[in-house]
């Protein structure tokens, strides 16, 4: 395998971890939103933490290897689609960060309620169905798909 192949492989693996980790977090958050018992919500949202770590590693590897690859191939960082992809990567992180903090607060609330009788709570139900972090996560994920579009078509 050539250096180009290795760089592309690392970039693609990073992108897979980035998108797949986001999907795992989404699946677990969706499953948690279907539950009423705080202990069950806390259990599912605790599992989001390793997924967030995967997202973080994948996003950094995908960006770092992508920039290296663009320089190596000779596209440079001045091409419109490369600049757009980096901007979308940053926007996705900017949206995903606050949404992740909101999910962490919901998990902490669920853990407190679980220790305090483990009874269904209206506050937890509202936190799980809060439209703002849901919308931010959805837009962040859509931006990842837009990056994939840019990577394939390279307009």
């Amino acid at each position: 395998m050539t250096k180009y192949d290795w760089l592309l492989l690392a970039h693609v693996l990073g992108a897979f971890l980035f998108v797949s980790g986001s999907l795992v977090a989404g699946i677990l958050a969706f499953a948690a939103a279907q539950r009423e018992r705080p202990s069950e919500v806390a259990l599912l949202l605790r599992l989001v933490r390793p997924a967030v770590a995967i997202v973080g590693i994948g996003s950094l590897v995908a960006l770092g290897m992508g920039i290296w690859l663009a320089e190596y191939v000779g596209y440079g960082l001045g091409q419109g689609w490369v600049v757009a992809a980096i901007a979308l990567w940053a926007a996705s992180g900017a949206l995903g960060g606050p949404a992740g903090r909101s999910m962490r607060e919901t998990r902490e609330l669920a853990e407190r309620l679980a220790q305090d009788g483990d009874r269904p709570s209206e506050e937890l139900r509202l936190a799980l169905r809060n439209p703002r972090p849901l919308a931010m996560n959805s837009v962040a994920f859509a931006l990842l798909i837009a990056i994939l579009v840019l990577m394939i078509w390279k307009p």
Binding site: M1, V12, L13, F16, I27, L44, I152
Partner: protein, 148 residues
């Protein structure tokens, strides 16, 4: 259909598949190792539903789009990395898609009737990790395209 659209659909479905298997592996491991006994049925149910609704359709989509793409790109003679990649996804579809979904349904029913352990649960925890490893191999083959 242009190859770019096929490539997009193939990569997107592969990412969804990888995420689905990753979720199943994580949730199954939590059910086997970390969860309290009363939490195991919930985790086994999430693993089963994810396998049924994400992993199984993901394998089918990856295979269909990959096959269409390969027919466009390699009309006469396909390279070794592609043949190995197809063999891996064929095996993955059978083991990770069909067998694992049925196994998880069985494990879920056993867990709900109070029998959370056994070789069935251990196998339902081990198989997603094996499928994940085969998918990583397939990604290395598809992205790295080693000689052949």
């Amino acid at each position: 259909m242009r190859s770019d659209w096929l490539l997009f659909a193939h990569v997107l479905s592969a990412m969804a598949l990888f995420g689905g298997v990753l979720a199943v592996a994580l949730v199954s491991l939590a059910a086997q190792r970390w969860a309290w006994p009363d939490q195991v049925p919930l985790l086994r149910a999430v693993a089963f539903r994810t396998n049924l609704l994400v992993v199984l359709p993901g394998f089918v989509a990856v295979h269909v789009f990959g096959d269409l793409l390969a027919n466009r790109e390699f009309e006469h003679d396909s390279p070794t990395w592609l043949d190995v990649g197809f063999a891996l996804t064929d095996a993955g579809l059978i083991v990770g898609g069909v067998v694992l979904t049925l196994l998880q349904f069985w494990v879920l029913r056993r867990t709900r009737s109070g029998r959370a352990g056994g070789w069935q649960a251990a196998l339902a925890t081990f198989l997603p990790a094996l499928v994940l490893a085969s998918l990583v191999t397939a990604i290395v083959l598809m992205a790295g395209k080693p000689a052949g």
